[in-house]
Symmetry: C2
Subunit: 260 residues, 2 copies
């Protein structure tokens, strides 16, 4: 997560940026004003967002099309554009919505526990909304819930007293870890929405590999790990091991600093 802030002219903030950008920011932060003139809206923005999440949950994120979402709502596809600027923007709104249910750790706890709670909270979120992983989102939306979660993670990490640069890196480290574990867990569980192929079917289809090209001589370590059953998922502690190693490393860093 990398947040840059551009140079800004010192005028009225409500004219900064582009109209589209302003529109999107408003959608994320302000409830949509109910409109004065024309006919009443058949739906609310929330309904559209929730329908989008329902489609993504049911059929996978590749099936998240304007037509599908509209169909789920019993509306024409183009009608959605009065609620939302476009597909990508709808997706941003869905993401911020997914972050909304996250609870923040008690600020009185030691930093390490707070970070752990944050990580578990993120892990739960990825379990609940696997489409967060499937999406190749390349930038977090600037929505209130996403930003609050970010801030809270940074806050927890900075309780270490480490310099800002290292706080930022450690926060990123934690997030990458959770994301990575979630990605591999979800990959094994779910279905490729592109093709409708389950994980099992994928491995079945390529099973010729194991007989013809995979040899224990070429891949001795992977073979040993495989045969030990260590590739199988553990139950519930997926992120814990890596998180523990990672935060142990941070604690060492703190000790080294204070020794000086």
């Amino acid at each position: 997560m990398n947040d840059e802030r551009p140079e800004i002219p010192d005028t009225d903030p409500s004219t900064w940026g582009t109209p589209e950008g302003r529109h999107m920011i408003r959608l994320l932060w302000d409830p949509p004003e109910p409109a004065g003139r024309g006919p009443k809206q058949k739906l609310t923005l929330d309904q559209v967002i929730e329908a989008g999440m329902a489609v993504a949950a049911a059929d996978g994120v590749d099936k998240l099309s304007m037509r599908n979402v509209a169909a789920k709502l019993g509306v024409g596809a183009m009608s959605l554009y009065t609620y939302v600027p476009g597909r990508d923007e709808l997706f941003e709104l869905m993401i911020d919505r997914a972050y909304a249910v996250r609870s923040m750790p008690d600020r009185m706890l030691p930093w390490r526990e707070q970070v752990e709670i944050h990580a578990r909270e993120a892990w739960d979120m990825y379990q609940t909304h696997p489409w967060l992983i499937r999406s190749n989102l390349w930038r977090m939306p600037l929505g209130p819930h996403v930003m609050d979660a970010q801030e809270d993670l940074y806050r927890a990490v900075s309780l270490t007293g480490l310099p800002h640069r290292e706080v930022a890196r450690i926060a990123g480290l934690v997030e990458s870890h959770v994301f990575g574990v979630a990605r591999s867990a979800i990959t094994d569980t779910s279905v490729s929405s592109n093709t409708g192929v389950t994980a099992d079917e994928y491995w079945d289809s390529r099973s010729s590999f194991w007989g013809t090209y995979y040899t224990p001589e070429r891949f001795p370590t992977m073979t040993a790990i495989w045969e030990s059953g260590a590739f199988e998922q553990a139950l519930g502690d997926e992120i814990e091991f890596g998180l523990a190693r990672l935060l142990d490393g941070v604690e060492i860093l703190i000790e080294r600093r204070t020794d000086r």
Copy 2:
């Protein structure tokens, strides 16, 4: 990275799996047989893969369409299907190709150095081929170069002497870290291929956010980090800090084990 192996009947391996799966595995592992009967091919599989990589490098992975790749080669779109089963499969071949240039660390080095070299090698690869990050690939292809790199990382990590389950987790931890840092670095550098918007343009368009909804009171830690300049990229040591913390944590684990 999670590798499952399905149950396999004890017969001729060349009949395992599906025809499509076998085709793909052969494309990855064996040079394509030059075909007996019909007209000579105008291209080679390698040319197709390289054209795909060229398109992805030039215009981004979203522009990687069969039509675009074919155009780059001066061929009809459908002709590609004699070389490659489809778009997804072409992409798998491109990935294995990207891994091909990676060099393996000296096996005589201590495990930690080997893992570090592996991580830097991956980092370099992501820098060279940013489309590896942009793609929301959900499973690594079973190609020789990808598999060799995997095996070598597992091998290096198992020099720690830790149990297999932990070796697997630590390897995943390292990969997630490099992937995460690469993702955020590439996001800041490059262009959203969907929209053709650069990172700068993105921040400009949304700059109204900073004036209207972002307040230092709500986001004190992010503000402090921002003002210290810590969000700016360092030069060259992007992955080093996190990697050091992470491997410090692993070393502690090893010490604890041997103390017993």
